[in-house]
C-alpha cells in the first residue's frame, strides 16, 4: 500500500559528516558494487565502455565551494535517499510498488509491481530515485537492507555498504528514532540538519555541518630577514643555517 504506515519508533537512517567527507567516491562505488547484486539489483549501466556512459547509482557525491575568501571552503556532499518519514514518492505511487516499512522506516520499491511511470522520481525533491531503463522500473537506495539484517555476515559489518567503506568515518548508520542511539547523540552534539525541511517530507537522514575554521591569530609579522637562498656567500649561509636551528 502506498498509504503511509503508522509511524514506528524505529527510524533507521544515515548521518553524513560534511566536515570530514573527503569526496573520495568510495561510498558511491561500494554502494554500486554491493547493490548491483543486492535486493534491488541490478544497477545497469548504459554504454559502460564508450562515450555517453551512464547508469543507475543510489549515491551521488557532489562537490561544492561554499563561502568566499578565508571563510570559503570545499564541501563534498553525498546525496542519497533520506528515507523520509512522510515521503511523497510513496504516496504518489499508483501501484503500491513504493512503500515505507512500518518496522524500521526504510523506503523501498517492489520492482515486481512497479510499472515505471516515474512519478515517484518527480515527487522526490532530492533526486534519490533513478530509473532502470533495462528493466523499466524505478530503483533506489535500500539502506542495504540485505546487509543490515544479514546474519551471514559478522555483526560488526551489518551496516550499509557506504558506511562500511568510508575511509574518513564520515558516514554513520543507526536508529535516529532513538534519542539515546550513537547517531542521535552525534546529531545533537554537532547540530545535524535535515535537507529542505521546508518541503515537509521529514527526512530521517541528517547531515553534520562543516565545522567553522578556527580563527587563526596572525599576530605581528615576524622580522623579515633574508631567505637562505638569498645569501650568496657560502660561509654566511652555513652560519645562518647553524644559527637558525
Amino acid at each position: 500500500m502506498t498509504s503511509l504506515p503508522q509511524p514506528g519508533a524505529k527510524k533507521l537512517g544515515l548521518v553524513i559528516d560534511l566536515d570530514t567527507c573527503v569526496g573520495c567516491q568510495a561510498c558511491a562505488t561500494n554502494c554500486k558494487e554491493w547493490n548491483t547484486s543486492g535486493h534491488m539489483g541490478p544497477l545497469p549501466d548504459q554504454h559502460p565502455y564508450s562515450a555517453g556512459q551512464e547508469g543507475v547509482w543510489f549515491n551521488r557525491v557532489h562537490s561544492y565551494e561554499a563561502g568566499d575568501g578565508e571563510a570559503g571552503r570545499t564541501v563534498h556532499f553525498p546525496r542519497s535517499c533520506l528515507h523520509c518519514e512522510t515521503p511523497a514518492c510513496v504516496t504518489v505511487c499508483p501501484t503500491g510498488a513504493s512503500y515505507k516499512r512500518a518496522e524500521d522506516g526504510i523506503v523501498l520499491v517492489n520492482t515486481d509491481m512497479c510499472i515505471g511511470c516515474q512519478l515517484c522520481a518527480w515527487a522526490c525533491p532530492y533526486g534519490a530515485r533513478e530509473f532502470d531503463e533495462d528493466q523499466g522500473v524505478m530503483k533506489k537506495c535500500t539502506l542495504c537492507i540485505d546487509r543490515i539484517y544479514n546474519e551471514e555476515i559478522p555483526e560488526a559489518r551489518r551496516v550499509p555498504a557506504c558506511v562500511s567503506t568510508c575511509p574518513a568515518n564520515a558516514r554513520h548508520f543507526g536508529d535516529l528514532g532513538d534519542p539515546d542511539s550513537d547517531v542521535s547523540k552525534l546529531v545533537a552534539e554537532r547540530g545535524g540538519f535535515e535537507l529542505m525541511p521546508e518541503l515537509g517530507y521529514k527526512p530521517v537522514n541528517r547531515y553534520l555541518p562543516p565545522r567553522r575554521a578556527p580563527k587563526v591569530d596572525a599576530g605581528p609579522p615576524k622580522d623579515a630577514g633574508p631567505l637562505p637562498s638569498q645569501i650568496t656567500n657560502p660561509l654566511l649561509r652555513w652560519v645562518d643555517k647553524v644559527l637558525s636551528r
Partner: protein, 313 residues
Amino acid sequence: MNPAPSIVFFTVCSGAGYGLLFWLGLLRFFGLVPANAGFGVAACGLALVLVMFGLLSSTAHLGRPERAWRALSQWRSSWLSREGVAAVVTFAPAGLLFLALAADNEALARPMGLLSAAGAAITVYCTGMIYASLKTIRQWHHPLVVPCYLLFGAFSGAVLLALIAAFWGAAAVPAAIAAVLGACAFLLKRLYWSSVDGGRPVATMESATGLGFIGTVRPLDPPHTETNYLLREMAFRIARVHAARLRRIAALAGFAAPALLMLLVYLAGGVVGGVLAVAAVALATAGLLAERWLMFAEATHTVSVYYGVPDRR
C-alpha cells in the same frame, strides 16, 4: 522537466476527448445540440477514440506497460491512480451513452450524458492534480494548474463539438461556448505565465545543501562527468528565445485565433462556418501541443538545484 511526447500527446488528446464528452453529455441533456443518431454517434465516437488514444499513448511512457492495470489500486493516496480509476469508470456511462445515441434511446442517453460529463470533469481534474500535487516543481504546484487543465480540456472539446455540429448546421451553441472559453483560456494562461515568471524557486543551492551558513554555494565538481537519468528527466533546459516564441504560438494559435474563428462560426454558420471550424480545430491542436510541451519544458525541479542548473532560464 523533460517533455515526453507520449505525455504531451496524451494530455492534449484525452483532454480534448473528455471536453467533447463533457459538452456532448451536458448540451444534449438540455437539447442544445442535434438529437439525431448520426450526430450523437459521430461526437461520442470521436470523444471515445480521442480518450482511448490518449490513454494508450500514456502507457507508452511506462517502463512496464503490461503492468498498467496495477495503477488502479492506490486511489486512496495517489492522484495518478485516481485518474486511472476515474478514466476507467467513465467508460461505463460513456459507452452506454454511445449505445443509447446509436439506438436513439432518449431515456438512456440523457442520464448517461450527464454521468459522462461528470466523469470527464473528474478525470481531467485528477490529471491536473497529478501535477499540482508535486511540491518539487513550482510551475506545477500552482493554484492555476488545475483550472488550466479543466478549462483547456473544456475549450478544445467545445471546438471539436462545434466542428461536428457544423456538419448538421447546428454549430451555434458549441461555437459560442468555445469562443468564450477560448478567450478565458487565453487570459488564464497569460495570468499563469506572469505568475510563475515572478515566482521564487523552491530551493537555492544554499538551502538545498544546508551550507548557506558558510556563504554562497557554487558547484565545484559534479558527481558524474556524463549525463544521467536525473539530468535528462528533471533538468531539461529550454532556450529563453524558444520559450517566448512557443508561448506566443500557444496563446495565439491555441486560444486567441480559435476563439475568434469560433465567434465567426457562431455568426456565419453554414459551409463557411464548417470550413472555419476545421481551421479552428487545427490551430487549437497545434497551439495546445505547444502549450503542453512548454508546461513540461519550462518546469524546474528541485533536484536540478543540486546540479547547479538555474531555476530561471
